[in-house]
Amino acid sequence: MSFWEVTLFLFDGFKISLLIFAVTLLCGAPLGLPIAFCSMSRFKPIKYVAKIFVWIVRGIPLMLQIFILYYTPSLLFGWKIVRDMDIYFQVYYGVENVGGIVMVLIAFTINYACYFSEIYRGGIESISKGQYEAGYVLGLTKSQIFRKIILKQVIKRIVPPMSNEIITLIKDTALANCIAVAEIILQAKILAAEQAIIWPLFFTGAFYLIFVGLLTIILGRVEKKLDYFRS
């Protein structure tokens, strides 16, 4: 296979990696907010349910969570139904392993939402009480105070830890290959197994590096944009 063919073949896999990355970020980042609010709730039952949920999701390896989500429907409804659905999608829509992709997306979204929620919580709790009180004595509502005063300060504080988490995320997408979702490393392994060429496996590193480089530049810009004030 030519270098170009290998690159295209790997890029097919990287598209899946990017899909997992984008969906996790777009769904997980907003989902983290209600989880953060629940874990800060003054209503004890909600608070403890949220805390236990976060503890479980952060306490179990993401790979195991993917396995659990992937196999549970089969255990509940039988292997055949699940396989038939996969085949249906493959035949009519030409997508392979739809069940696997969907479960990976769910597992990643929930897992990262929990990590994000803890970052949000830390950020929100780090804002001094005086900021809220200043808003209160100016007659603002709780929601105005959060949206107009607190939010931007929180965003400024969580950009560095969020950047870390986002960079970890693109590399974590490789875990999807544990249930045969054809992300980039699985594609490279296919080349190794079927064409007996090892170098594409190493070459996958370049895809990650370029993407992480881009992320670093973008996230750095965001950080710089918020540099104009100190809180």
């Binding site: 209160y136 100016l138 007659g139 603002l140």
Partner: protein
């Protein structure tokens, strides 16, 4: 009729009783200073007036209208509390400016959100307030670029923008370097000359003596002494007041004369 009437205010945190039945009143245009050692309940009193804390007992009336009555039974809604606290303004010890907004934006934010006029009116009013606290050249600066004294002056302008009936100061100069307290106290003195009604919790005895119409000395959650500056500073009746004032002279020198 007094502008502000505070009757029988009690407040506890857990088992600690911080305010044990306070009564006082304030006429329009008067300046009231509250002095006393740390932990005597001065700040808690201001926080009760501003509804940052809810008193356990007692009533607060502004202009003859009861805005807080602990025995009323029905809890005030969030909207009523917001409505009521707008009778008061509060300037904090630690300024609490909004760091992401410029000086001008800090002042216009609340009037804009509360729809107190058109954008032009609000900006115009804010500019005249900035002028009044002497920071016209700093209107586009951010709080982190200002000195403590300048930040506190912005905080005063911010509180004034909502035209409160009574402006409260919670130790406005305690977080400042000594050389910066003067500029803040000058602004407060200027407000008195334009007829603002104010309550100032302070450790600046000389300032309290010269600017106030009334002085309250608080000790252990009660009003130990209440009177004109002359009465409280020069002729204190209570032994606690005398010992407090003597200690202040020891630490701050004999500047009170």
């Amino acid at each position: 009729m007094a502008l502000l009437e505070v009757k029988n205010i009690y407040k506890s945190f857990g088992k600690t009783e911080v305010l044990k039945g306070l009564d006082f009143s304030l006429e329009k245009g008067e300046v009231l200073s509250i002095i006393g050692s740390s932990g005597s309940g001065k700040t808690t009193l201001l926080r009760c007036l501003n509804f940052l804390e809810m008193a356990d007992k007692g009533t607060i009336s502004v202009d003859g209208k009861v805005i807080f009555d602990a025995d009323d039974g029905k809890k005030l809604t969030d909207n009523e509390i917001r409505e009521n606290r707008l009778h008061f303004g509060l300037v904090f010890q630690s300024f609490n400016l909004f760091p992401q907004y410029s000086v001008l934006q800090n002042i216009t934010l609340a009037p804009t959100l509360l729809k107190r006029g058109t954008a032009e009116e609000i900006t115009e009013n804010a500019m005249s307030l900035i002028d009044r606290v002497g920071l016209a050249d700093k209107k586009d600066n951010y709080p982190c670029e200002l000195s403590g004294g300048q930040q506190q002056r912005v905080a005063i302008a911010r509180a004034l923008a909502l035209e409160p009936d009574i402006l409260c100061f919670d130790e406005p100069t305690s977080a400042l370097d000594p050389e910066l307290t003067g500029e803040v106290l000058r602004v407060i003195r200027g407000l008195k000359n334009t007829g603002s009604t104010m309550i100032v919790v302070t450790h600046e005895m000389e300032f309290a003596k010269s600017v106030s119409d009334k002085v309250i000395f608080m000790a252990d959650g009660v009003i130990e002494e209440y009177g004109t500056p002359q009465e409280v500073f020069c002729n204190p009746k209570s032994a606690k007041t005398r010992s407090f004032l003597n200690k202040d002279i020891e630490t701050n020198g004999l500047r009170m004369g």
